[in-house]
Symmetry: C2
Subunit: 337 residues, 2 copies
C-alpha cells in the first residue's frame, strides 16, 4: 500500500499567540470557547497580535491526527481545500515537511485559519475562520492515493458544508469498493446533534471504525453511559471506540470490549487529545496490532499531548511506543503525574 491513512478534514492554518485577558475582551471573545469568525474578523485580529505569535503551522483536527501518525512512523496523504494565498502555500509546505503528502484543492480566496489565543492562565480560546476549506470538492480527491491507502479517515466536521459532505461520502464509496477501511471521527457533540440521523445512516453503510468521545457517542446513540453507547455503535460498525478523558477509553468489536486505562499524567491542556488518540488508534490499526495494544498506544499518545500546551507533541517517546507495541503495560511507560 502507498499510504497507511488517507485523511480528510478542514485545512486550517493554526496561528498560536500569547495574549492578555484584556485583548480577548477587546476581540469580543469568551475565554476557553471556540467561535467561528468571518474573513473581516480574522483580517482585523491577526495584525493586532503579530508580535505575540508563538507558532504558525498547518492544523485542523484531521491534519493534527495525520501529523501524529507520521510522528509514530505511519504514512499519510491529506486532502482538503486551501486558498491561493500564502497561508495555503505554507499549509502545503508544512504538511510535506512532516512527510505527509498534501493532496490539496485550491481556489482563489483565503485559506482557513484557526487563531489559537493562549492567556497567561494557559487557557486556549479558538477563533476559527473556515475560509476555502469549505470548498472541498470531488475533483480535489486524489483517487489513486485513496485507493492505495489502508484507511480513509474523515471527520464529522465536514458534514456542516454540503460540498464537503458529498465529497466525503463519495470518498467513502470509493474506499468501500477498493477494500480501503473507513474510519470516522465524530468531531464535536454539537456537530453530532446537527447531523444525527445522517451520521447514523452513514456509519451503518460505510464506516468500519467509529471514534468519538463519551458525549458524542451518547448523543449519537441516545444512551446515557459510554458502555451502552459503545454497544450500540458496535452494531453499526466493525470497531467502536469511545474515549472518556481521564477514565480511559472503550474499544468494542462485536461482543468484545477492551477497557483501556488512561495514562496518569498531570493534564495541562486537553487541546488535541482526541486528535492524538486517533493518531495512535490509526497507527495500531494500520500496523495490524491487536485492539488492546492499539488502544494502549492511543491512550499513551493522548496523554502526551494533554501533559503539555498545544495540539501536538514536539517529540513523541518512540521507545515507549515500541514497549507498548511489544505488549508492554501502559503503567510502565506513563510518567507519574
Amino acid at each position: 500500500m502507498r499510504y497507511d491513512v488517507f485523511g480528510m478534514c478542514n485545512a486550517l492554518f493554526d496561528i498560536q499567540a500569547e495574549v492578555t485577558e484584556a485583548q480577548l475582551r477587546e476581540m469580543g471573545l469568551t475565554k476557553g470557547a471556540m467561535v467561528l469568525i468571518d474573513q473581516e474578523q480574522q483580517r482585523r485580529m491577526v495584525p493586532r497580535i503579530y508580535s505575540q505569535i508563538v507558532n504558525a503551522e498547518p492544523g485542523g483536527s484531521g491534519a493534527n491526527t495525520l501529523i501524529g501518525l507520521a510522528q509514530l512512523g505511519g504514512t499519510g496523504c491529506y486532502t482538503s481545500h486551501v486558498g491561493d494565498d500564502e497561508h495555503g502555500q505554507l499549509y502545503r509546505e508544512g504538511l510535506e515537511a512532516r512527510g505527509i503528502r498534501a493532496c490539496l484543492g485550491s481556489s482563489p480566496g483565503e485559506t482557513g485559519i484557526c487563531l489559537v489565543l493562549i492567556t497567561p492562565d494557559a487557557q486556549r480560546t479558538l477563533a476559527t475562520f473556515l475560509g476555502r476549506s469549505q470548498n472541498l470538492r470531488l475533483e480535489d480527491l486524489c483517487l489513486e492515493d485513496l485507493q492505495a491507502s489502508r484507511y480513509l479517515y474523515a471527520t464529522a466536521y465536514l458534514w456542516d458544508t454540503p460540498c464537503q459532505k458529498e465529497t466525503v461520502q463519495a470518498a467513502m464509496g470509493v474506499a468501500n469498493a477498493a477494500g480501503v477501511r473507513v474510519a470516522l471521527s465524530l468531531s464535536d457533540p454539537f456537530c453530532v446533534t446537527r447531523h444525527r440521523d445522517e451520521l447514523l445512516d452513514l456509519i451503518r453503510t460505510h464506516v468500519d471504525v467509529l471514534f468519538g468521545n463519551q458525549t458524542e457517542a451518547e448523543v449519537l446513540t441516545d444512551t446515557d453511559n459510554p458502555h451502552d453507547a459503545a454497544r450500540v455503535l458496535a452494531e453499526f460498525s466493525d470497531v467502536a471506540v469511545v474515549t472518556m478523558d481521564a477514565r480511559g477509553s472503550l474499544i468494542r468489536q462485536g461482543a468484545v470490549v477492551h477497557e483501556i486505562p488512561a495514562c496518569a499524567v498531570k493534564a495541562v491542556d486537553t487541546t488535541g487529545a482526541g486528535d492524538m488518540y486517533a493518531a495512535g488508534l490509526l497507527y495500531g490499526l494500520t500496523q495490524g496490532l491487536p485492539l488492546d495494544v492499539t488502544g494502549r498506544i492511543a491512550s499513551y499518545c493522548a496523554a502526551q499531548v494533554v501533559a503539555q500546551i498545544g495540539p501536538r507533541v514536539d517529540a513523541l517517546n518512540l521507545d515507549a511506543v515500541r514497549h507498548l507495541r511489544a505488549g508492554g503495560s501502559l503503567f510502565e511507560v506513563c510518567p507519574p503525574p
Copy 2:
C-alpha cells in the same frame, strides 16, 4: 499654536522580526540593504515570519521623528495616506496612542509596510512596500492644523511620487503664507540625486530649515566636504543642518556655524539616528532654544537611538534633555561608551 510640528512622510507600518541568514536568502534579500517590494512580495513574506515578529507599530522616517518629538514633550500632527486595511487602522491608533494627531488620508487598498528583518549579527535588512502611502493628495491635508502649527516638517522621500510631491509643495505654500516655518529632510542620497535641481529650487523658495547628512548635503550642493555644503545650503535657507555621524553635526545660520559634537556612545544600530536627530532639532526650534542648545539636544537624541537596536528609544532620559536645555554640556549627559 495648536501643534509644534505638522509632519508629512510615508505611512509605513513597521513589522520587525528576528530572522536567520538563511531566511534572508530565501526571500532574496541582501543583508543590510533596503529594497522596495511589491504587494505580492509582502503578502508572501509576512506569514512566513509570523512567529518571529518582535514588534509591529507605526513607522516611516517622518512618523519616527514625530514620535521622538512627542517623547520630548512636543506636540505634533502627522499626515500621510493609508489603505482601508487593519494595518492602516493600527497605524492611526498607534500614532494617537503616542499623543500625535493622525491626519491620514485613506483609500481602498493596502497600507504601506516596512519589514525590518534583524539577523543574529544585529544587522537590519529593510523591505519596504509603499502601498497606499504613495496616494497622499491635497484633500488629505488638514489645512487648519497645518496653519495652526509652528513648523511644517516634510521629507524628500515624497518627491518620488508626483501626487505626494504636489501635496507637499502645496502644503509648503500654505505654510509660508501662514507664517508656519518649513523644515525639510533630505532623506536619502539617491533621492537627492534623483531630484537635485527640483530640491534646490524648492529649498530656495520655501524652506527655512534644511536637514541632511553629509553625503546628502554634498550631493545636493556639489561640494566635497560638509563645511562647504553647509555654507552653500545656508545661502538657500535660514538654517542648514549637516550631520556627520560620529563626527557630530554642523548647524549654520548665515555666517554663524555651530559645531555640535556627537555623544560618545557605543554604536549598536544606526537605524533611526537621522529621524531622532530631527526630532531633537525640531524640539529645540519649536521651543525657541538657541541653535547650539538645540543641536546638543538633537545630538543626544540621535546617540540614544544609536546605542540600541531599532529606530526608537523606549524611554528617553528627560533629565538629560532638561540639563542640556538649561545650557548643560553634552559631555556631562552622554554615558561613556
